[in-house]
Symmetry: C2
Subunit: 132 residues, 2 copies
């Protein structure tokens, strides 16, 4: 089964731009083969503004996200594995979605899901998984 993450990134990117919000990606630079300016990387993470006014030629594929961006006036071709995206969120109000896959977060969602079941047991017997 493929990851639902690229589908959700495309959806939220579209929702944000339709609502005049500025989409940002939080990216783990560990697996990204791009020389970003060091000043922009903090704790192995970088925040990239991917709004149509900030970058060009954006393609959100199912495996890679690709676009052209300028850093200090120099145009760079950026290619990021979808699996390195930790979140997409809007600059204006922080709304969006996280895709962190670490165990602590997984555990939190499992707890939430169990609480959800407990509260909703009588309303539906279906099981739901929060997409991570």
């Amino acid at each position: 089964m493929t990851s639902s993450t690229p589908y959700l990134i495309r959806a939220l990117y579209e929702w944000m731009t339709d609502n005049s919000l500025t989409p940002h990606l939080l990216v783990d630079t560990g697996d990204v083969d791009v020389q970003f300016p060091k000043a922009l990387i903090k704790d192995n993470k970088i925040v990239l503004n991917i709004s149509p006014t900030a970058i060009a030629n954006l393609i959100v594929g199912n495996v890679f996200i690709e676009f052209s961006a300028r850093f200090s006036g120099v145009e760079k071709f950026i290619s990021i594995p979808v699996s390195s995206v930790l979140a997409i969120y809007s600059r204006e109000n922080g709304s969006g979605m996280t895709f962190e896959k670490d165990e602590i977060l997984q555990e939190l969602f499992t707890v939430t899901r169990k609480m959800f079941f407990a509260f909703n047991k009588e309303r539906t017997s279906r099981s739901f998984h929060i997409v991570l």
Copy 2:
């Protein structure tokens, strides 16, 4: 600001059909102006198989979801307000997303978000909202 729900429904529908999963909608029938067979409604909710093999002419708009479906051999035009959709999930493994807006669930997500902040405080100072 418009709802992100229709964007997420389109994304997960596409992800499921790309993965040969069968998308189902859980719908609150309270605000739906369609005469569904009574036997299919339970506790004011109905589960609708919206896979391409089960229905025709699906349009997931930003306000309404519309399609044609057959009930007991009779074709019906179905129009459902997006706001009545409680969840989209796959029949095969239950993966998907809930859009319930009741206070208990909101509270659960708030708790999760706070725990997320606590665990991730040192990694990022950004605030995230889980899209409901």
